[in-house]
Symmetry: D2
Subunit: 335 residues, 4 copies
């Protein structure tokens, strides 16, 4: 059985997803596309043998669409997710669930009201071989329980200019999610330290940001978020456990010595590091739909928590103070 | 368009391929299976929704089969490949093309007579991200032209006992192929040095073997082939070029420090290293078939050369001498 | 000209220093030893051709002693340093200058009153090839200015039991000093986070400690101090600069693959990592004395600042709050 | 007791040795220098407080000289070593013992006639922490017995032009010695393969050279000797043992990520890699002399074997054939 997917949003990431679904994922086909730029969706439709439609509503309710992938700009995720719930279509929604907490909450409430999980959040790092290998080191035969987790997230440049708040809600939100998943725990507070900034940082902004969090069981989580690092794209994660230490590098295969230097190249941007994670996420989603298994990725609850924590981090950035994180009770649907 | 594949041979590797085609490769389905052990093919057929047939001939000629994957024991590859050619079905044939040169030659002659390439050889390392990254370092902006290539190929144990000749034809044949591909050149001679063997080596056998070859342009190729290394499964490749040096490791993501030791684990066997290469090979094959593009992998010519060189290496092992390698002219079909 | 050194304290580190001075440092000899345990100093004296005396005062004022090395228990450092100043003998004083700030201040005042620098502090990491290579990466051709520094300091076990306050004043004081030296800046505040502890941590103690500091120019300094890490002895330092990132590992030469594992061993304790730094520190001290050059290591001012900061960190550990660090004006002698 | 050393030859390496002995080695002083260029020896003498004499004979017989270090051009080593033996002065002789076998033999015969070992050969890699760590991996708790050893020896450029024969006798002689020491065995044959050369290789020369040897117990030794590699100075050694594999890298402490690249620098020439080995060799020599212990380094026998093997390698380069290595019986003095 082939899952026919409709893709909302055909920018960089939506196009990447649509091509993966059409050519690199078993059991899926892309049938319908929507983008606010009809020329863009039309061109992609021609390339992969889909049709383009003029509204996302039409896509969601189309008889040609078994499942929906939302890859539109962040501010539209929630309303489109609600429409998918209303149509009863399984959905993979790019992160974040919503920039605004109330919007995220509305999706959560709607899914809880529906009584079954239809939406999977696109926190693709949960499918990354690096993070999976890292989490596999935990436990009594490995490094024990995680006590301190130190993350680095570096972009070469911020393509649309630097906005420190956006560094948290758009970029560090990946660490906010993946660390919850790694240590299987919720955050209690967040603090954001600023200090000396890199040479490309405009006045009034801060880069890198140093985000500090602690979970209910006391694990300390730290994120260096550096969006104009200039060095290339790099994500690292270093876990101190009760019995040992594990760190995730970039999985490079090749070392080269040349011109008095020995090492390896770094990618320019995130697809160079996470393309395989995206593919595995899509494959996991499609396989689950085809076999009627629970979807394997992050849930709407995870998306909602991500939005809450990212917003608390934003408060913490503005105030300079430690900001407590209080979550509503987790609905039974996400137990 | 979905390519319906029939799989001949449902042992370890055939099963792995069938599952990949059924669940991890876009555009393919597995429709028919054959194995000399009907219970084994039957069980897998039930698992993946295929049918099992009692002869490979029936599979090859089945209307349900668009393309054939040959994963039977080595000695049957040639006759089955000939049957696929006769049936005009595109085929992916596991290495080697044949243990015996005359058998490999028969397949080559038949494909040349047919006048078009229907068979792709399963030298999956050509699809491995590690080898691709390594080859990507060659050239004037990298390490220049390859001058010396040093390979290591280590198995933890030889599951069915150690047979030095088999180490060449069954295991080192991977290096024989991938080094030709890496340096894009043919071999002129081969020599096999033996010396001190590992502690598990039975009397009369040699392990490791030290294979030395040189290509027509003078590149020196060396293979350490160690099938009872005890250390785990490991494949490395180190290239000295005119401007620098590149070496391929195992692409491990995670380093762990524990119990006075810092490092990472090694897999027990080859799937732990090359599973992704197998998947990418299958995807490349299926995509080529679906889009009517040339098949992207090794050709029958490559398979034939592999058999010749492995057999010369066997002679060199027995004689201790340098054995020249003379290839017939390359047919125009493989230009 | 040979510098004749008297060594106060012949425990582990004093013995190591005395042997280095006697057999691995150019231009020095050890002539006189003192230890509260006369048998211990006597045995070492016999080994290296020195004499043992019954009081440290006798050692300091001996005509056989050109220079003094203080390696006694921490609480005696200050009074012995004062005696060296009174005797006008150049001195290498093991860290810390004193556990108690007033005692450290007394030494500072005495040296300032003397008007010349006679005491060098034994912060040996300033001579470590690893830290020197790390600092050499700073600047416009390297990683730019340091913005965030993340340190790990792990002992396998705490030999005399775990005391969290002592982890700061005895162990993390090394990071307190070396980070000031690395970034060439003073601290403004310190905070100590505690959370989930390792399995060997007794009730009421915390291990690891997570020390957070910031310097006057805004550089963020973080220390993971883990004295019962069980993994071996390991010190790492990771610097995020405005143009790149550098991290210091352990300088291991050899990688071994064995038993499904690839990596290298870690030392059991600190001499396995820093023996060469100790030797280079002693050589630098002796060469400076022999050539009448300024002593190359940490000063009494550095020692005094170390004691202040370590004590503020202790306060921060008790209070859980961020504690400001106010230093007195730096005397002109240490400009 | 201070050992007073006379240094013959004050070029690069002689100057480095003299400065080490004067300022970085315990228990030594440099009293007398000789160089054919009197201005050069005079300047160094003034720097380190020695005197310069007009002939090496005067240096060797001087009452101010307890021990002699020979760092003259290769062709003078033997005659100067003979003079040291005649004078009964302990000597550290730079490699090679002599370029010509008969000259090396004359020194061996003279020392045997003397009946005690006075000369240590300056094969400094035996003191290198990297090689010592590598050898420490051998044995039943490590990688077992060595079966195959693969060496790389790369210079950035050949300062005085490329001469393939000289690559063997002057550069690869280091591998010839260190591999004998590593595997504790003698060579049985040597072969030199040539092939594709690097872009800077003049017509008629070969670079890299691929040297292949085998020892009496069957261990295979391979050397890639590349004197115009352009990549910097790099020496690696990779040992396949019966239980595992160990490889020696460069002991770099720091990894830097910058400009889409992660790695570390390589030195321009050999002192950047082996300076510490030289110092440790000198310290070992001086300590042995001061304590009347046997000298710890390579012997005249080792030097003689090195010359023989390097010369056989030269023959092998010219003939392209495998050349047997027959050693005379090892004199009892070197048992």
């Amino acid at each position: 059985m082939t899952i026919r997917v409709g893709v909302i949003g055909t920018g960089n990431i939506g196009t990447s997803h649509a091509r993966d679904l059409a050519t690199r994922v078993a059991g899926s086909t892309v049938t319908v596309l929507y983008d606010f730029d009809a020329a863009r969706s039309g061109a992609l439709a021609a390339e992969i043998g889909a049709i383009a439609v003029p509204t996302y509503e039409e896509l969601i309710t189309s008889d040609l669409v078994d499942a929906v992938l939302i890859a539109s700009p962040d501010q539209f995720h929630a309303e489109q997710a609600l429409a998918c719930l209303a149509a009863g279509k399984p959905t993979l929604c790019e992160k974040p669930l919503a920039p605004v907490e109330a919007d995220a909450k509305a999706v959560l409430d709607a899914e809880v009201a529906l009584g079954r999980r239809l939406i999977m959040m696109g926190f693709m790092r949960r499918f990354d071989p690096g993070y999976l290998e890292l989490k596999g080191q935990f436990g009594p035969d490995g490094i024990g329980d995680p006590l301190i987790v130190r993350n680095s997230h570096r972009n070469e440049i911020a393509p649309y200019g630097l906005d420190s708040a956006l560094s948290l809600t758009n970029a560090a939100i990946h660490e906010i999610d993946i660390n919850r998943w790694l240590v299987d725990d919720e955050y209690e507070w967040v603090q954001v330290l600023t200090g000396r900034s890199g040479p490309l940082t405009p006045a009034g902004e801060h880069d890198p940001l140093f985000v500090l969090m602690q979970t209910t069981s006391g694990t300390i989580i730290e994120i260096e978020m550096f969006v104009q690092s200039q060095l290339g794209y790099e994500v690292t994660c270093h876990v101190t456990g009760g019995l040992g230490v594990s760190e995730m590098g970039d999985g490079s295969f090749v070392t080269t010595a040349r011109a008095r230097h020995r090492g390896h190249g770094l990618p320019a941007q995130w697809l160079g590091r996470f393309q395989e994670a995206y593919r595995l996420q899509l494959q996991g989603w499609i396989t689950a739909l085809a076999t009627d298994e629970p979807m394997p990725g992050a849930s709407v609850w995870d998306g909602y928590v991500g939005t809450i924590v990212a917003n608390r981090a934003g408060q913490a950035l503005r105030s300079g103070e430690r900001v407590p994180i209080t979550l509503p009770p987790r609905p039974a649907l996400y137990a």
